[in-house]
Symmetry: C2
Subunit: 346 residues, 2 copies
């Protein structure tokens, strides 16, 4: 990493969040991202009847923090539970899963629900998750109070995962990243972007980022992670990249900067991972060797960012960075990967 | 098949087409569908530089017939060629592939294009095909004169195939069948339906028909075939069903009746295939054992239907039926297959 004097100034465009969790970078370290020393923040068997909570989303709400958590009950079929926290690291988890209603007000329960993301657009909170629609695809629901959750129609046909809605409209349209897949443990996958005026009808699909490049950590597939953070350099996206080894998939975390007005255009992406499974809670669990970012908390005043990630499909971990550090790291290690520039294909 | 006296009267709702090709059912036969005696109507090496034409779409146009043909040039990467015919069976095929332009009027050439369908909605003709969008998905273009072809944006993300637009709007919306897939020789697949007000933004996705049931011929996957025919009993859909044998896939033809106002609802579907590879040109070719319906010609006055199908990924064949015969056959052999009734999932 370059010395501070050469680094670009970068600002988060957004709100203050002075009560977000934070630890300074460990003395003597220069990694772009560093782990919370008390990880994992959610351990095995966190509540009665739930064996593991991981790949989960958090947001500020009502001067505290709300979480939409991927909970695997003791029958192994994942559902979403709410969690509440004063400090972002100690979580009270609701014992019952989220109850959805449909747009007519009738009860609606997804057959399964996993890998949630959570975002506020204007005055409404939206949850995206992987749902069943005769195969996995992206589910969506909205809430204003975290009490009533209205399930919206699936934006896409199967097979799709890793739906990530942007935190504001661009040119009047909602913007959603997704990672088209197949019906199983998909051995391929790029990130695409789609637009909608009303969250009902979707189109203007664009290819955003390809798997591959010189680094092998993202050679098999990639997928959107946390809701993008608006910065003075563009949209900062934390995403996951996967390599297929002789003993299974390994999930690492990368970062990219997308154009602020045309977010299907990649400005920069890190040729290196920024976090990879190294700790006991990332290396070993229900699915070994997984670091899977799903959310951030961030403070526009200080540029601090806390990244929430699932670890080994078993735990929730937190890692920290600063917008100036991470954006400069992505710029410095940028690798243009074939396919990211559209090649004329839309 | 029941005797004529018990058969329901069924009418095609549509235009007259007295010049369509036709042969009566062979004497003494009672099959619901029978082949044209001079099949295949397009043979190997039909024009210079093209080794095979198969899975192709036809329509009446300007008192003759137009075809949008899947042509495999001698490099093996498929493109679409136009064909013209006075009688529907003898075809003059253009030596150059279709030139598309994009919506700004600039040249647009798909990297590959296969399995076209062709339909007229209001005053415009639409072509759907399988196109490349960082993986296969449904391409779409429009024309009014078969001279200028304007490519529209892809309605869906990858991975998808077998896009079939209905010949009229329903409740003000365009209706498109598709068969979500994976990136290869997909070993699964059901038929879904999507709606659009403008052909740009798509939503209200519904599951229509599942693979499976008691019959094995459609046990691995199914996909929409010809543009549905409006009848007094509902939308008559010819589709393909696939079984995976120890020596490869076998594609047969089935038929279904979809509800006229809510075509995601299956009224009836044939538990049996209505055509399966038996003839030399269906059994043996570039891909053995394929019968793949892509289009029909039909006459509202007589109820006659000519089904155009690809044979063994090598030839074009024609088969005949009559709306009354085929609809009664589908009703008589109806099998309710799990998943067709939505099970509350949309």
């Amino acid at each position: 990493m370059k010395g501070d004097l050469k680094m670009k100034e970068v600002k988060i465009i957004g709100e203050s969040l002075s009560n977000m969790p934070w630890q300074d970078r460990p003395k003597g370290k220069c990694d772009p991202v560093w782990r919370y020393t008390e990880n994992p923040i959610i351990n095995r068997n966190p509540i009665k009847g739930v064996s593991r909570i991981f790949n989960s989303a958090v947001m500020p709400y009502d001067n505290k923090f709300v979480g939409v958590l991927r909970a695997e009950p003791i029958n192994g079929r994942p559902l979403l539970h709410l969690g509440w926290s004063e400090n972002g690291v100690d979580w009270e988890i609701e014992e019952e899963g989220i109850d959805f209603i449909d747009e007519d007000g009738k009860p609606y329960q997804p057959r399964y629900a996993y890998d949630p993301r959570l975002v506020k657009v204007e005055d409404t909170y939206y949850i995206m998750w992987c749902t069943d629609f005769f195969g996995p695809t992206i589910g969506m629901a909205k809430t204003k109070d975290f009490k009533t959750f209205v399930r919206l129609e699936n934006p896409f046909l199967p097979f799709n995962r890793n739906g990530v809605l942007f935190p504001r409209k661009i040119n009047g349209n909602f913007i959603l990243l997704s990672r088209p897949s197949d019906s199983g443990h998909t051995p391929f996958g790029d990130i695409f972007l789609s637009e909608s005026k009303d969250l009902k009808f979707w189109g203007k699909h664009r290819h955003v980022m390809s798997k591959g490049g010189n680094g092998w950590w993202q050679s098999m597939k990639i997928g959107g992670g946390a809701v993008p953070i608006e910065t003075s350099e563009g949209w900062l996206l934390f995403y996951h990249g996967v390599v297929n080894t002789c003993n299974g998939y390994v999930y690492s975390m990368g970062a990219a900067i997308l154009d602020i007005d045309e977010p299907s255009k990649v400005k920069y992406r890190s040729g290196n991972f920024i976090l990879t499974p190294e700790k006991w809670y990332e290396e070993k669990g229900f699915v070994d060797n997984v670091v899977f970012p799903c959310a951030t908390l961030h403070d526009a005043d200080t540029g601090r960012i806390a990244i929430y990630y699932g670890a080994a499909d078993t735990y929730v971990g937190v890692a920290f960075t600063n917008v100036k550090d991470i954006v400069n790291y992505v710029i410095d290690t940028h690798e243009a990967i074939e396919g990211d520039q559209h090649l004329g294909r839309i």
